[in-house]
């Protein structure tokens, strides 16, 4: 167990302002995520959801114009992507890339050991690792054959997403940000993914779900729901906000914001 307790602040974003190729995408975004919580960030297309995920994970082709983001008390934005991962931040990609010829297990083991070195734990050997992965694969209902294939190479859309969650369950991040993990999944796969994410939830961890639709939230029930529109959080609430969005769409919020 870590020394993180329920309610500790894991991620604190203040006034985060980000441009992409001269266009403002995030515009003074605030968000606080505490240990033990599951957040859902919802919003229409182009609201900045994916930009937020990628900026937090450390993608460098964004121009950060203002604000701050602290992760476990450290200046997150000053850390390169790999350092963020090693400290326990995980991004589940909306579009996981294919890396031909790089063995899926090999990457997973390298990733786990990079994290364990940071935690000053001994690296896992091949046997321990395989046992661990086999367990998680069962959980994610992933065919073992996928292990020996190239990373995402020739995977179906659903396989790629399940593979992301598999990686997450193996790496056991402190904070998992899942970017549109539900897109492209059928109902059965959605259940499996939901199960995988729920298995990770603990008092000393947190999950941020970035999603377009509320259907994922049937499987992973969030404590907090935020609506991201025009680069900032327009409204926060509980689970019922997601249901309201499902019913009413996003436009009423925008009108409300314009009126205010």
């Amino acid at each position: 167990m870590s020394n993180i307790s329920k309610g500790d602040i894991l991620l604190e974003i203040r006034g985060l302002t980000v441009d992409v190729q001269g266009r403002r995408i995030l515009d003074g975004l605030d968000l606080t995520v505490r240990a033990g919580e599951t957040h859902a960030i919802m919003g229409p297309n182009g609201a900045g959801k994916s930009t937020l995920s990628q900026v937090l994970a450390g993608r460098s082709d964004y121009e950060i114009r203002g604000g701050s983001a602290r992760f476990l008390g450290e200046d997150l934005l000053a850390l390169p992507a790999e350092e963020r991962a090693r400290r326990g931040l995980f991004l589940g990609f909306q579009y996981p890339v294919e890396i031909p010829g790089v063995n899926n297990v090999y990457l997973l083991k390298a990733a786990l050991n990079a994290r364990r070195r940071q935690q000053q734990l001994p690296e896992v050997d091949a046997f321990e690792f395989l046992a661990l992965v086999r367990d998680k694969m069962k959980l994610m209902q992933i065919d073992e054959a996928l292990l020996s294939r190239g990373v995402n190479e020739g995977f179906s859309g659903g396989e790629k997403k399940r593979n992301e969650i598999l990686q997450m369950t193996v790496l056991e991040p402190v904070l998992a940000i899942l970017d549109e993990t539900d897109s492209g999944l059928d109902i059965d796969a959605l259940k499996v993914v939901g199960h995988g994410v729920n298995s990770l939830r603990r008092d000393d961890r947190a999950v941020v779900l970035v999603t377009h639709y509320q259907r994922l939230l049937d499987h992973i029930v969030p404590d907090h729901v935020h609506v991201l529109v025009g680069g900032r959080i327009l409204r926060s609430g509980d689970r019922s906000l997601a249901l309201e969005l499902e019913r009413r769409g996003y436009d009423w919020l925008r009108e409300g914001a314009a009126a205010a």
């Binding site: 390169p80 790999e82 010829g101 990733a111 990079a114």
Partner: protein
Amino acid sequence: MSSTPPDLDQLVGQKYRHGFVTVIDSDTVPPGLDEDVIRLISRKKGEPAFLLDWRLKAYRHWLSMHEPRWAHVRYTPIDYQAISYYSAPKTSSDGPKSLADVDPKLLATYEKLGVPLHERARLAGVAVDAVFDSVSVATTFKARLAEAGVIFCPFSDAVRDHPALLERYLGSVVPPHDNFFAALNSAVFTDGSFVYLPKGVRCPMELSTYFRINAAKTGQFERTLIIADEGSHVSYLEGCTAPMRDENQLHAAVVELIAETDATIKYSTVQNWYPGDEHGVGGIYNFVTKRGECRGQNARISWTQVETGSAITWKYPSCVLRGDNSVGEFYSVAVTNHYQQADTGTKMIHIGRNTRSTIVSKGISAGHAQNSYRGLVKVLPSADGARNYTQCDSLLMGARCGANTFPSVEVRNPTATVEHEATTSKIGEDQLFYLRSRGLSAEDAVNMVVSGFCKTVFKELPMEFAVEAQNLLAVSLEGAVG
């Protein structure tokens, strides 16, 4: 702000790690080339008359030839009169009989290069015929090889001890007049390796040679001859590295392989000669002629090369598939960085019936480098049922490098099957970000993508060499990402 962008263009910043010069007195002939120099080389080597004649004929032919200009490489003209054609470490005058007799400085040099002769040779079961400059200084595992009947020795020893084999095979695959550089090599070669496998012998270990260029302005003209008699089998490893130098150094080696009926030769190369600095100054010119002939039925010759070094690499390890059902293979990874240039590929000449060839070429370019694949698949009228499969993939890192593919196919038999696939891709920021977001450093991420790209070639390398090759690739591309 934030994390330093992983600038692909910087992937080239890595300094050459093997850049050092060992201070050893060289017995070096003054620069220049004429018949007297050739006579001197031949005399120093104590060669029989036929070999001197052979050299002189090659030299006279060379004088009538012109340096080829068709390769996709650029370099300042070579002044052949400014090169010294003979250089030997002084310790060679009385000849080291064993490792204990070898100049400790030489051994230290190999240590720096990661070639600990004692352990490595014993642990890996590799016999090492180390070539320092132009004279071989150490040979191990001789007894075990001799017991199996395998001859593995410096070329000059073969001249003395096996003249009949030499007279029969030397120049039978790459004739002295074959091309400009082969002719030059034939005239002035000083040493190299000789391997002979008698009928039915399976070589009990991998054979290996480490080359090293040390004395300044000394051309390297190695000559390698490998003969696998009927039903024999040999795997030969060649690895190279060179110290930091400002002047360009010409290397024009010739390698000839002969596989008789049912024989197999596997020839693997890891080439890591000094590529010049990040501004393109210095570096080795590597203009090599490598060719093998499958002389009998079911013979097999396989070339595997990992080319990361040299300012300019210009080589086409080729197979002449004369015997029916013979097989030729070429697996290549060529990495060019900074201002390196590589024009490399293979020729598969199908003469016998049902001959098969496979070509897998992986070119990686970074910095301002140029990387070209040039290949020829030729099916002669006699080659009924011949088959070739060619795959050429190029990986670009950054926007200022280039990749070219020049495949030639000449088919003169209607029953032949020839397939060609080619791809060019850029190493993606998306791929690198994905790997870094899993905790891998920028450099490890690049290495992983590149290793994946090269996987089909690496798995053809002998195990211990595959690891070395991966490390070499990592070193070559280090610094490519900020």
